[in-house]
Amino acid sequence: MEEMTSTMAEDGAREYLTFTLGKEEYGMDILKVQEIRGYDAVTSIANAPQFLKGVINLRGVIVPIIDMRIKFNLGTVTYDEFTVVIIINVLGRVIGMVVDGVSDVVSLLPEQIKPPPEFGTGIDTQYITGIGTSNGQMLILTDIEKLMAGADMQLVENTTDNHLDLAA
């Protein structure tokens, strides 16, 4: 397997970090991942959506933490020493996302990725770039950047709202 990975990397294969949410296995572009760490010392933010657990201090940088399990109603929401946070770097921001577990890094060739099915999974199909197979298990490949930029994440501030309040 190791040998295969290295040969495939040379023919346009891309590496994906796989993580689990509930019973489903997801994959995201590994280049978007900054680090993986445990869950602790989260300061909650008032009047924020429930899936936004709060912010943490990541070596002097304030990073928001999103619990994907709450956001997509998957898995069991418990916080202990095994809870995993994937710190990702998207949209010029650093964001932490809580998942059930991080499994592996897999390399997939473009032809190994099938277009996404139309039926629903936990994550809205518009954020799914394809379905891959790794070791006989199905992998849902997500466009994490698009997912985080989505309006329902409320990560990106809409400044015009404030503005209209004052003008009206």
Binding site: T43, A46, N47, I62, E157
Partner: protein, 688 residues
Amino acid sequence: MSADLSQFFQVFFEESAEHLAEMERILLSIDIHAPDAEELHGVFRAAHSIKGGAATFGFGDMAATTHTLESLLDRVRHHELALTAEMVDVFLETKDAIAMLLAGHRDHTPVDEAAVESACSKLRNIESGEHQQPAVPAADSSESPSTDSPVGVTDYRIMFTPPADLFMRGVRVEPLFDELASLGELSIAAQVAVPDDFGSYDPEQCYLCWDMSLTSSTAGLEELRDIFMFVADEEEIVIEVAKPVSQHKDPAVAAPTETSQKNNVITTSPPPESPGRRLYDRDETAPNAFGRRPADGTESSSIRVGVSKVDQLINQMGELVITQAMLAQATQQFDPVLYESLHRGMALLQRNTRDLQESVMSIRMMPISFIFSRFPRLVHDLAAKLGKQAELKLAGETTELDKGLIEKLADPLTHLVRNSLDHGIESPEARKQAGKPPNGTITLRAAQTGGRIVIEVIDDGAGLNRSRILQKASENGLVVSDEMSDEEVWQLIFAPGFSTAEKVTDVSGRGVGMDVVMKNVQAMGGRVSIFSESGRGSRVLVSLPLTLAILDGLSVRVGSETFVVPLNSIIESLQPQPADISAVSGNTTVRVRGEYLPLLRLNELYSIKGAVTQPEQAVVMIVDAEGEQVALLVDELLNQHQVVIKSLEANYRKVDGTAGATIMGDGHVALILDVGDLVHLWRKAPQI
């Protein structure tokens, strides 16, 4: 000098821009009838520096324009010509032309050659018109000789003793001689000083010196010096005036002055007439003066550092403050008696950290005069354009704020000042009719109040027209009613596309002003408020957070959450008596020394569970929210410390009522409250 100069271009552009700004500042403030000699020197110095730099870097057009300006300035500062208002205007026009040329070289923006030429010809007209004797002859070595007619002819004797490494530096002397020859009749005698001991002879060294005689030259001494500018140090070139022919222009007089200042040169001429001036000039035109300026000592009272380096320093400082806080917290567990030296060391560390932090923070702070200084010109030009008379008063220019804020503040303030002048100040006739002096006054005032910087733009004009704003607003489809308070009406002008100006001028009235102002100020975390009185004028108040990356704060606990309240917004904290608490139409108020203050419950605003809800069992903190006092209900006061403001927006978004977040000693994140914003949030929230 074939070295690649392009790496120095940026420095030259920045320096020139500063010199131009300085020039403008002085010209606008100068008293035309009794100009201060130092100020005139200042303008001259600025022009001279730009000229020298431009010539060095091969920007001939800039050098030529600046030279024309400089020669007129030179005569003004020597009282050969009296300063007139017309001159100042032409100077300003020329300054703009030079700025345009500068921009042309820097950003490759188009240059209006006609404007440059018109400025130059105006300068020349003044110079020749006022004085029978025409201007100084062309002075710059990189320029083709100008058309100015000669003042007189002079004979020079030039002794050039180059340093031994002349050729190793790649200097060619032939062009120098050619250039000298173009200025008059040149005869050269070379002297060879090869060492006696042929064994020590180094073929790459220069053992030559030249004794030149330049006769019937129309050139000034400065001009000759310029030729040698990048070749030789002052000691290596000695220029003597052999036969001053004309007494009209100062080269003849000044030349001996200068030579006499050079050590070991014997001069034959009259005593110095204006040593101060020559002393200065010599410094500025000294060989390599531009290249090695930082070493001069007198010139280099500042150094240029990239903003990113300063930011990095500030970030690291922030980390240090956090680490120090962490250590301080850990140290508290140790017995002060047993570990006395540790505690003493910690106290010292704390003090040193604070000192260091203050110094580091001050690097980024700049006086607001940096932007205020552009307004005298703006008002001067704009008032003339609009046919109005206006005077600009500045106050609190030394108020310091962050460089980043200063840059972002420039546009909104420009809008506000333009608006005041265009819409606020009336025409002189209208003002007379209203019984006001024809001269309108616009005041720009900056001050630091509490944790905020407040900048006011005040005019004594007509004030805002309530009925017209209402009419315009309803035309624009905004929901309005006559019952709206003045304050609400004034807020309408911040709506996009709103303008009440009866006609659109190129100054303002296109309705892109106030909403942009609002947006820009809000982006900085600031607020804009308007006060206006019909016939008396209006006052626009821009209040900005003092986003110093570090502030003194008091940490408070609400439920299980910790918040930091900026110390400068806290007035006092107290535990109220049950009798002091009363309810007024659903709102709780606290009576503090006879005053009834509204009580803001942090736990309700931030939906925190498990907090104390009975005010008499908790702590009430009286805070100042932009001049208004309110009481904040918190569970307990924890500690006072310095906190580093960390941006929440960088990775998340702004959280209402907060000024950011910080990292506490234990590594946790705490939100920093912005009391003013908190009050806004409370007003908007449905009352419980």
